[in-house]
């Protein structure tokens, strides 16, 4: 079947079988290698994408089910101001995540801040658990996300003043 959807802001179509996972379709049909497909059961978080604005593990999403929906991968998210703020906030907090979890952790934190501009530490830890990894001290992740929240609040304040 042909699946048409919006991928990183562009209308796309791809041939997909009902047995294909979204993570595999994104990697193989579109070359989006930032989407990894490791555990294939939704646990490792390395395949996280935004589906209609919601963070989901794309390895447990059948490719056929994204028909008519909007998908944003780390490649698309990296083009946004939100992403730049995330990187800046993580750097400001001195957090260096590993190559496996950096993108999903940033996406998980961004998903949280989208709905909760001033998250509590427990909310940060819970949301970043969508991309579990032992490379970074959880307290450092909390500081990093709080730093991003601060940057974002300042940006919104500046915009409101303009």
């Amino acid at each position: 079947m042909t699946v048409s959807f919006i991928l990183n802001g562009e209308d796309v179509s791809a041939k997909a079988r009902s047995v294909d996972r979204l993570s595999d379709l994104l990697r193989e049909a579109f070359g989006l290698l930032g989407v990894r497909s490791d555990c294939r059961c939704g646990r490792c978080g390395r395949c996280l994408v935004f589906l209609d604005g919601r963070l989901v593990p794309s390895c447990i999403v059948p490719a056929f089910s994204v028909r008519g929906k909007e998908v944003v991968t780390i490649e698309g998210f990296a083009q946004t101001e939100d992403y730049r703020e995330m990187v800046e906030g993580f750097a400001a907090a001195g957090v260096e995540t590993c190559g496996f979890c950096e993108a999903p952790k940033i996406m998980a934190a961004a998903a949280l801040l989208e709905r909760t501009p001033r998250p509590l530490p427990r909310e940060i830890l819970e949301h970043t658990s969508s991309a579990p990894c032992r490379c970074t001290d959880p307290e450092a992740i909390v500081k990093a996300v709080q730093a991003v929240a601060e940057l974002r609040a300042r940006r919104l304040y500046r915009r409101a003043g303009q």
Partner: protein, 275 residues
Amino acid sequence: MLASDVHFAKDLADALDIQRRRPGILVFAGGTDILREQGGRGISLPAELLCIQSIPELRRAGLTERFLEIGAAVTVAELLELGDSALPPLLAEAVRGIGTPAVRNLATLGGNISCRSRFMDSWPALACLDGLVELRDQGGATWMNVNRLLGEDGKPSVPVGGLLTRVRIPLDRWDVHALRKVGPRSYPTPETAVFAFAARAEKGILAEVRIAFAGEIGLRSQALESSIIGRSLPLSSREATSIAEGYKSLAEPLPEGLALQFGSLLDGALGLLSS
């Protein structure tokens, strides 16, 4: 691996029509239960699938004075976004235990209830809250208490045919409640189970009590609950011990580790009525 024929229902009438024409078609919403055990390259799915995730009627949630009504395709994340003022605390706590936040964006309440291989997190809470599920087919709608999803063998007994469309939860007052999840949290294993407890008192007398525990096997005995109702509160420690004794045979089908955990959670809950 089998390539499936996928049918996208545009509304409820369409979904019921597809289901009538194709008996046995697998209903697909979030897909988290269907895909969670499949670690291979491709997905193995039945020959025919009915996608209900975009049906508007199944994606609504509404609150009246007497109950909360949730469409079967409402995701767990959307359910939590209703907020603590709308969501009964026991249910809120139960669904917070489902998967990771990313998985909760896919998993639906209907899927969580209608899992056939085991009980998922929401069942014990819904059983305590006297939740009802609506099953629809071309002939009409039937409301059914979630307790009827507990088979005589303790395993899930989800009716075949028909479509689970809505969940209705009475907004009754419960004076004390408790919910505990044991075993691995974000991913269900044979050691994962949920304990739920709720009780209501009237003039110092225990007026209602609900105790449910479920993982691969579900436990709830309305007969044992009835035998506790009507006692004066607080319960004496002798009464609490005798009630716990009564539950021992109910817990017999559980693996030893889970039976011990059930016993200790029950003791904790009865402790709430003893103080």
